[in-house]
Amino acid sequence: MTTAVDTGRKADLPPPAATVGVIGWLRENLFSSWFNTLLTVAAVYLLYVSIPPLMQWALFDAIWTGNEAKDCKLPDGERKDGACWIYVRAWIGGFMYGLYPYDLRWRVDLAGVLVVLMFAPLAIRKLPYKNWYGVAVILLYPLVAYFMFRGFIDFTPDNPLSHTHPWRTVETAKWGGLALTLLIASVGIIASLPLGILLALGRRSHMPIVSTFSVLFIELWRGVPLITVLFMSSVMLPLFLPAGVNFDKLLRALIGVTLFSAAYMAEVVRGGLQAIPKGQYEAAQAIGLNYVRMMALVVLPQALRYVIPSIVNTFIGLFKDTTLVAIIGMFDFLGAVQLGNADPKWLGFTVEGYVFAAAIYFLCCFSMSRYSLHLERKLHTGHKKR
């Protein structure tokens, strides 16, 4: 078998058995040295100590049936060992919608369904005019969502219809829960990226006024904590505005969050721009592209691809920072959970509330992270041969 025709070349042999397969993998990765073996044993022990009790509390001992706090308690009033998930079930509406009127919550749901329906076509790979459709949806959807959330039948004391109408207005102070968190985060994310790109380009501009303005803007917003920004927007800004001029608190918070993260985004994008070799600019100029096209078609697609991990990092940070709007009296998701924790009917179940909140935040952030990996792989061209 081994003596093939002599071609003058040495034959390709299979690798030694100990370096391939499950055994090979274990040897190589888990037990390659005494230190590695020690780490493996320590890690397994840590998992053994932490995971089973957690599972016991969250799943096996958990209370899933019942409707009231007493279903989670022993006859003597002490609470049972497992997690009391019926509290979360009872409060789920509050967590999702905050103080939004109970009979109008379907409008928020409708906005949620619409976002899926409107953005779903973008998943089709070869949709004609896909880019235009994407831009149209991103510009149009916020308007649609705004009217869904707010409604359009204004409240007037002498019109009885405006108290009960399914499209009566709900003022922004009543918006809340996970819906509010998603709203602030998505507005912040969608608006801060283009703004950040403009600021990054501005900072690298050869025009001194543009670049000075960009640097000042970026450094100012980056140099101030978000809490300060939110405080300023809700407490101090009205003092500076002329009497009678007042605009919505949520809008002010949205602008604050957006500008704040745009400053961070600008620096992330600038990092990407610096990674683009001068030759790319020269080649683009040599084929006659003007500044805008050179940036839009050659430089930015590459620069943004380089910094996808950092962009998503900023987005995840922004998503979690939205909890700070609690400071200015808005009940976002975390605020709504705290509201539930303070409910006299359900005292003593704060851990369940926070664990639920953590799980939802983790789910959102982890999805963003996975999506970024997917995007990186999809946009990867030719550095590695596939």
């Binding site: 080649a283 683009a284 084929i287 006659g288 592209l289 030719g382 041969k385």
Partner: protein, 258 residues
């Protein structure tokens, strides 16, 4: 290095393609280009050589305004290079450029690299641009790579794509800035062959290169630069046989007898 040993037939005409007169350039205090005077006729093939740092790349980069000159004038195809953006755009549409490091756009396929200019600058319909691009890719002998990304090609293939990308803009003049200097030896020939073909078709070419075989067979005129000035220019035969200045003699002895 090149295929044929006997010089190509000249397509040179009396019409002026590029006129550089009294051109100077400084990098800060450093005087890189000193009183450059050069007339290039349509269909003429010029090789620019000289030691590194002699300003030869800078000179040809001034012709499509990748570098700005500070004194004197450059007229390309009847249009003077000034700060007027319209003039710069007009000249860049007429002048193609090939770089030492190819500078292909790595996020676009070979075909997209070639159609980017025609679609966005010349406003050509996509289908038409793609057909033209395939024609030029066939001419540089890599039509089968059209849907690959530059990162998947060899250096020689990338440089040929870069030439095709320039040709897609249908330029009247082609500038080559050391097109083979970054290539492995076995890939130099495939790029030079494409350039010889281009020369045979009558393209006006300005080539900065150290490939003296190419200069000998393809060039109508060789320009020798040193310390930012044009020291000597002559037909290839005379240039190699009877260099006039000492600097040229020194340079030739260094590159021909290593």
């Amino acid at each position: 290095m090149t295929a044929s040993a006997k010089p190509l037939k000249s397509a040179k005409s009396d019409e002026v393609a590029i006129q550089i007169a009294g051109m100077h350039k400084w990098y800060g205090e450093f005087h890189v280009l000193k009183d450059i005077n050069l007339t290039v006729y349509k269909g003429e093939r010029i090789v620019v050589c000289g030691p590194s740092g002699s300003g030869k790349s800078t000179m040809i980069r001034c012709i499509n305004r990748l570098e700005e000159h500070q004194k004197g004038s450059i007229v390309v195809d009847g249009v003077e290079l000034t700060n007027n953006v319209k003039n710069i755009d007009a000249i860049r549409r007429e002048v193609g450029m090939v770089f030492q490091h190819f500078n292909l756009f790595p996020h676009l396929t070979v075909l997209e690299n070639c159609t980017l200019g025609p679609i966005w600058v010349k406003k050509m319909p996509k289908k038409e641009a793609e057909e033209a691009a395939m024609k030029y890719l066939t001419r540089v002998r890599i039509p089968e790579q059209a849907l690959k990304y530059p990162g998947q090609l060899s250096g020689g293939q990338q440089q040929r794509v870069a030439i095709a990308r320039s040709l897609c803009m249908n330029p009247k003049i082609m500038l080559f800035d050391e097109p083979t200097s970054a290539l492995d030896p076995e890939m130099i020939k495939e790029v030079l062959d494409v350039m010889v073909n281009l020369a045979e078709e009558g393209m006006t070419m300005l080539v900065v290169t150290h490939e003296m075989g190419f200069a000998r067979t393809v060039a109508n005129r060789i320009i020798f630069m040193d310390m930012g000035e044009i020291v000597e220019q002559n037909e290839p035969k005379e240039f190699f046989a009877n260099p006039k200045s000492e600097r040229t003699k020194l340079f030739l002895s260094q590159i021909l007898h290593h």
